[in-house]
Every structure is written in structure tokens, then in C-alpha cells.
């Protein structure tokens, strides 16, 4: 199958399957680490230890919780629509993981004499693919909220849908600045174009807009109105428990990983290192992971610091501030590039 765009070399089918497995495996290994990292870090921010009972330094806490959730009784409200109620979390997690295939973790490497790209796929429509999956992941939230048959879930889903759509526009426009500068839609191409300067310096406005919109897209504080535990209990997953709840949780964290991966790729130079350092190729994935960790730490830091916006403030911020700013950024970038 050569359906996807600019193929400069050919990978045999088994390499693609191995890559898919590796990506899945790495993500499901990273997720619990991410969860314990967030909880530990939040604990430090709040003057406490965080979980420290299960395993050394409490590192096995996520495992214990996964077991706990898995053993819970599957439950659904009497008003729920059974089939959709079950499918919705799956949509959420599938779309989140599929988007991850796009994040390039390194350049093309020779492994056992076989050239292998250290990414899931490299398509000629790069970021559009992410947005397409983001568009589908909306159904994970909307169906979950609607099929629960609960007013809280429904309000959360409605908020989520409106928020995702509103901020997707600004996020997309912020990206276009980078795309114009790089002159390509291929994510590996964008990284290679950053060899001289990482794009977060010339595209600093775009970077800030992208990060702000990403907080909204991943439903993280201060834009976590979709969950808004104080108002809507849990938003669209109010009625979920057990493994379905874990699926939503994982989807949310995976989205965070994807967004930080995209931010690293587009703005922070991907696997490149500053000051002309050229490490051997096997270091590349670790460079990308380290940069992603920095972005994720930013996510957690903001969560520990900022309170939540109100719904109308969120909307007016998205449409009245972020969108004009992104448009202006795009305009200026276009003029500079064309000139």
C-alpha cells in the first residue's frame, strides 16, 4: 500500500507492523509513568508528597489503580444508550493513539541495513491528518456525553464540542505560520527545515497560540470546562466507571502526549539539538522524549497554578482574542515569507 504521499524509500510491510507495535507498546508504557509523574509533581507543587505507598516511591500507584478500575463492576445508567455508551470511550482512545503515529521521533535510520523512519507514518498532509483525527475524537466525547443519558454528561459534551471546534480553528491557523515558513506539510520535512533555527523563535506568537489552544484541545486546566469537576462533576464521563473511565483517562493523557509531540516537532526542533551538536541517530528518540517531557511539565505546572475559566469567557477568549491574533500572525508570516 503506497497510498501515503512522498515516499523516498520503501519500507517492507513487516517494518511498518513492528513500528506500529513499538509505538503502541511505548505509549502504554509511558502513560502510567506520565500519570505518576503528574501526581508526584502536583504533590510537590502543593507541598505534599503525592502517592508514596505502593511500590518504591509510590511508583506502582498507577498499576494499582488500573487493577482497581479493571475490577470494578461495569455499570451504566438506566437512561444510557447501551451500544454508543460502550463505543464512545473506544473512539476516544483509538483516535488519540492513531494521532501518535504521526509524531516523528527521529530521522531515517539504518537498522540492520534497512532504512527505517523513526515515526509511524510520514504523510504529505501531516498536520491535517492530526486535525482529521481530532475531528473524529470529538465523537468520543459527544457520544459519551449523549449516550450517558445524564444532564451533566450532556452539558459537558456540549461544552466539549463547542470548545474543541472553537480552539481547533486558532490552533490550525497558528500551525499555518510554521507551514508557510517551512514550505512543506511533511512533519519530518518541517523538522529538517528547523536545522538553522527552531521555529519557536520566529514563530513565537504562533507557538504561544498553539500552546494555549492545545490546553483547550486536551481539556486541561485552565480550559478543563468539559470536565469541570466543580460544576459538572465529571462532564462527559460523569457516568463512566471502571475500564471505560480508564479509557477516557488514557485518551486524555495520550492527547497530551500527541499535542506535546506536535509542539516539539513544529516549534521546538524535533530531534535536533542546538549549538551544532549532532549526536548519533539512536539518541534522537530520547531527545524528542526529553523535549516532550518539558512541554508536559508545562501542562502540569499550569494545572497546579491556574483556576478555570467560565464558559462564556472561554468562548470569547477563543474567538475574540486567539483567533484574530492567529490570523494576524499568519498574515505577518505570509508577508515576511513572500517578501
Amino acid at each position: 500500500m503506497r497510498a501515503f504521499g512522498l515516499v523516498y524509500f520503501f519500507e517492507p510491510w513487516w517494518v511498518q507492523i513492528v513500528k506500529a507495535l513499538v509505538i503502541f507498546g511505548v505509549i502504554f508504557a509511558v502513560l502510567p509513568i506520565l500519570i505518576i509523574y503528574e501526581r508526584k509533581l502536583l504533590g510537590r507543587f502543593q507541598g505534599r508528597y503525592g502517592p508514596n505507598r505502593v511500590g518504591p516511591y509510590g511508583l506502582l500507584q498507577p498499576m494499582a489503580e488500573i487493577v482497581k478500575f479493571a475490577l470494578k463492576e461495569p455499570f451504566r445508567p438506566a437512561t444510557a444508550v447501551e451500544s454508543l455508551f460502550r463505543i464512545a470511550p473506544m473512539i476516544a482512545i483509538v483516535t488519540a493513539v492513531s494521532a501518535l503515529a504521526l509524531v516523528p521521533f527521529g530521522n531515517v535510520q539504518k537498522i540492520f541495513g534497512q532504512p527505517v523512519g523513526l515515526y509511524g507514518i510520514d504523510v504529505s498532509i501531516g498536520p491535517l491528518y492530526v486535525f482529521a483525527l481530532g475531528g473524529i475524537s470529538f465523537y468520543g466525547i459527544m457520544l459519551g456525553g449523549w449516550a450517558s443519558g445524564s444532564k451533566y454528561s450532556f452539558l459537558g459534551a456540549m461544552r466539549g464540542a463547542a470548545q474543541l471546534i472553537s480552539y481547533e480553528v486558532s490552533q490550525g491557523l497558528a500551525l499555518v505560520g510554521v507551514l508557510i515558513t517551512a514550505g512543506t506539510l511533511s512533519l519530518t520535512g518541517i523538522v529538517r527545515a528547523q536545522a538553522g533555527m527552531w521555529y519557536f523563535i520566529p514563530q513565537i506568537v504562533g507557538f504561544l497560540i498553539f500552546m494555549t489552544a492545545s490546553f483547550a484541545e486536551t481539556n486541561r486546566a485552565p480550559f478543563d470546562l468539559v470536565e469541570a469537576d466543580a460544576e459538572l462533576v465529571g462532564g462527559y464521563f460523569t457516568e463512566y466507571g471502571g475500564t471505560a473511565f480508564v479509557a477516557y483517562l488514557f485518551a486524555e493523557y495520550t492527547n497530551m502526549i500527541v499535542v506535546s509531540g506536535i509542539a516539539v516537532t513544529l516549534f521546538l526542533g524535533g530531534w535536533l539539538l542546538p549549538f551544532g551538536i549532532h549526536p548519533p541517530g539512536w539518541v534522537d528518540p530520547f531527545v524528542v522524549l526529553a523535549k516532550m517531557l518539558i512541554v508536559i511539565t508545562l501542562f502540569i505546572w499550569v494545572r497546579a497554578t491556574l483556576p478555570r475559566l467560565r464558559y462564556d469567557q472561554l468562548m470569547s477568549f477563543g474567538w475574540k482574542i486567539l483567533l484574530p491574533l492567529a490570523t494576524l500572525n499568519l498574515l505577518v508570516t505570509a508577508i515576511v515569507v513572500a517578501a
Binding site: I125, L128, A132, G135
Partner: protein, 212 residues
Amino acid sequence: MSAVLFFIAAIVAIAGAFGVVMLRNPFYNVLSLVCHLVALAALFLLLRAEFVAAAQVVVYAGAVMVLYVFVVAYVGGADESVTHFTGGADRPGALRVLGPLFGVAVAVELCIALLGTALKGISGKGAPYVLGFGTPKQIGTEFLTTYLFPFEVASLLLLVAAIGAVVLARRRRGLEPDESLDARLRPARPAYTGTMAEVAGLVAHGDGEAGR
């Protein structure tokens, strides 16, 4: 490989289309159209129209269908309103019988046209693949050179549609309070909610006026 993918995608697309027509609950109609659209995007990918495929999912599944979902959720996707909503039955009379007949007739005619065509390309696998076919670059160039006028007209159309939708769906009144709302905010109390007054025999059971 591509044949298998084609048949899977085609079957899902046709099944989704059937779902749109056959299912009774508007919410499921919309969802089956989403399935249909995603399958169609896969078909586009097989035809090497990557940008169109991505646009299909982003625009259709991600935005247009979201509007549908909103409206269905708003107008009523729950059970009780579904019956009221779809009327439970198809359109009456001649249309119900003639409609499918007409559909079959059109299908037969189109198939005859396809089979009897003199177009040679139809039975081929398409033009030789050129690097860069279907990329955003190529389509963008076309849009800004050959098809500039349609492009501008389409954007104008979008603007008009956006304004029209706002005008149509706008609320007639703002958020200022009015009396009819106040009246509706105080629904009659059901029986027994004022138990003690009722037990004391002061009011009849369920006399909503006593609670005003």
C-alpha cells in the same frame, strides 16, 4: 491489498448510506453518515487524493456533522421526541412506493451507462502516478490560477451561508427577564410535596396554587 481495502471501504460506505436512509433515530442517522464519510475518505486515499480525503474528514466529519449532532441533540435525540420527530412512518401514499422504484430505475440506468460507455479509462487503473499528485501544493496552485473565480465565489457563498444561519437560528429575544418566563419558572407542584399543609387539611392534595 488495495482491492481488499477497496471492498471494505466500499461496503462500509454503502452500509453507512443505507443506515442514513433506514434508521429511525436521527442521532443514528447522523452517526451512520459519519461512518459513511470516513469510509469515503478511505476510498479517496485509495484514489491518491490525500488532501481531499483529509479535507473530507476535517470538514465533513469534524465540522458539518458536528453541527448535525448539535441540532439533533437540541431538537431531540431522546426516545420520546424521536417518535414525534420522525413520525414513526415514512411519507404517505404514492411517494413511498414510487420512491424506491425511482431509485432502482436510476441505478439501472446509471449501470447501463457505465457498462455501455466508450470511455477507455474506466476499465483502466487510472493515469500513471506522478509524484505530487493530489498534494496540497498542486491543488493550491490550481485554486489560485485556473479556478480562482470558483474559489472566490465559494468563499463568498460560505460567508452568506454563515450570516444566513445566524439570522435563521438566532434567538428572538435576549437574556433580559420577561414575565412569561417567570410564570414558567414556577411549575405547579405535584401532589404531596406540601405534605404538612395537605395533611392539616388546609389545601386539597396537589393544589398547586397553595404553593405559590
